[in-house]
Amino acid sequence: MSDTVSIVIFLGTLFVLLGFGVWVGAALLATAFVGMALFTSAPIGDSMAVTIWSEQSSWTLTALPLFIWMGEILYRTKLSETLFRGLAPFLKGLPGSLLHVNIGASAVFAAISGSSAATVATVGKMSIPELRARNYPEKMIIGTLSGAGTLGLLIPPSIAIIIFGVTVNESISKLFMAAMIPGLCLALLCMVYVAIWALLNKRTFKPDLRVESAHLARRLADLLPVLVLIAAVIGSIYAGVATATEAAALGVLGSFALSWFQGGLTWPNVLASVMGAVRTTAMIMLILMGAGFLKLAMGFTGIPKSLAETIAVWELSPLALIAILTIFYIILGCFLDGLSSIVLTMAVIEPMIRAAGFDMLWFGVYVMIVVEMAQITPPIGFNLFVLQGMTGKDMAFISKASFPMFLVMCFFIVILVMFPGLATWLPSVLS
């Protein structure tokens, strides 16, 4: 059989299995099986078992379940209330007023939880009813929430970054350093958008601006433990005193302390957080198993190598390459969730990216942003699903409300390409 036919069968298997709704991890495993059978005489099952075992028992990956658990604990605290009441008095003066709370609270929550959906759910739990009661336009409430919620993928610690780091063998600590400044910039950019929108719509935008601002000191005192927790988790990684895993374990401890401090630490909550974390971890791990084995099979097919060579022959400028990749990721993001698109694409394009001379830390940040965009593009966008559940609005309305944020992210990619130092500067200073 010619190689071309084999490649068509191999890739066809992948799309058919994914399309027919086979569980993503299993679809990747089965595709890898087909690839191994077509392109190599290596023992398939044994190679798979060794690949799965070495990845699943690796030290680097231990940060994953712990950061997930940390997010699950914090999700069950009164954090959403604390963040809203603590941030509202300070942000209400800006044009756009309390809409900025959505963004600010998302950025803060993103810094303690690694998940985008959890960020949306936690921040929205408090802010949706509060903003609705104050006559804020629904489309802005939803838009800011779904857009800023994606910061959970970018601002460290982030589950998606850990997965990227494990997939391409880059230091997770360094990736966490690289993502910080872009994360903050993107949050800022979202706020700028809200401010501009508010100024342009001065006439129709008349929300109720009253915010309870008594006991401000008490509110700040409530916020303090959260900020300390963030500083401890991220700071310990940046200072080089803790690995990502150690920081995660300390983060779990800190979240328990915070939860206890707020009086939300009950047995049912603890049990629910553990079981929730275990489920999410198992879900991600099954995909990672598939991705790891698929990466091995991909190597045998020669697709990544010939793709890298083809791109090299075309002599595309890095700019053109990034433009093409961005379009590709946006389309892919319409059909696949962010996590699956990271692991699936990196198995194919990693050699190409390295051959084109991209800095992998920079590229990691870039991938996080395009995947963030995938979170809010219909028909498959998990932030959209979460918001659908929370607001009861239909998908079309939520997608439309989120679209400006999608454009903000596109714009930020341009900035990131023009100023790569946003991502590469901090890791070079800290290490």
């Binding site: 299995l17 994914l18 399309g19 027919f20 709704g21 086979v22 569980w23 993503v24 299993a26 495993l29 089965a30 099986f33 099952g45 044994d46 798979m48 078992a49 060794v50 799965i52 075992w53 699943q56 028992s57 690796s58 030290w59 990956l61 231990t62 379940p65 712990l66 998940s115 959906a117 998606a160 895993t245 150690e246 995660a248 374990a249 300390l250 779990v252 401890l253 049990l271 553990v274 079981m275 275990v278 489920r279 999410t280 971890t281 198992a282 879900m283 991600i284 791990m285 099954l286 995909i287 198993m289 059909f335 696949l336 969730d337 996590l339 699956s340 028909p379 498959i380 998990f382 699903f385």
Partner: protein, 184 residues
């Protein structure tokens, strides 16, 4: 639906509930192991600060994580925790959807059994060759690999269980009425 006597049906459902309890037990065990993983890492931090011995802690942490993950796979599968792309299949309903669901479950069963078989072989080979980990702990590798293989068999059982349920009692697993997966 394949015709089934009422008594048969009740027996089947009782068995199904029993198996679900087993997967849940695996889930709890996975939870305990995750707590253990966290404690282990906290201990290694404390050990470093106090100059206590914590050799091999990072290897053991990896084994604990692997075991925890595999113990949770079946529970996660049964509680619809594993994600899949529903975009295309959502367009189908009734018999067509049912046919697709059979195919998915059939394939998933084959894959799960394949994984379980080879994870078992991995553990057996490690036992046979007395392989030890490269780290400071030098643990015999079959020790952590055995529970991993057991977890893989538990997943295989859960998938086959769901397939059998789909054949005899489709409404219990109908993806059109059961909620989809959660997400990161």
């Amino acid at each position: 639906m394949v015709a089934m006597q009422r008594s048969e049906r009740m027996m089947f459902q009782a068995l199904s509930r029993g198996l679900d309890a087993l997967y849940r037990l695996g889930g709890f065990l996975a939870g305990l192991l995750m707590v253990l993983l966290c404690l282990l890492i906290l201990y290694s931090i404390a050990a470093r600060l106090l100059n206590l011995y914590a050799g091999g802690a990072s290897d053991v942490a990896g084994y604990v994580m692997a075991t925890s993950t595999f113990m949770a796979l079946a529970y996660t599968f049964r509680s619809n925790g594993h994600i899949r792309v529903q975009l295309l299949v959502q367009r189908f309903a009734g018999a067509t959807r049912r046919g697709i669901e059979f195919m998915c479950l059939g394939l998933m069963s084959a894959i799960a059994i394949f994984i379980a078989y080879y994870m078992t072989r991995l553990a057996y080979d490690s036992y046979d060759f007395e392989e030890r980990s490269q780290g400071a702990d030098a643990i015999l590798l079959w020790i952590p690999q055995t529970p991993v293989a057991i977890g893989a068999w538990l997943l295989a059982l859960a998938v086959v269980h769901t397939l059998v349920q789909a054949i005899f009692d489709y409404e219990a697993v109908n993806p059109e009425t059961h909620e989809g997966a959660s997400e990161v």
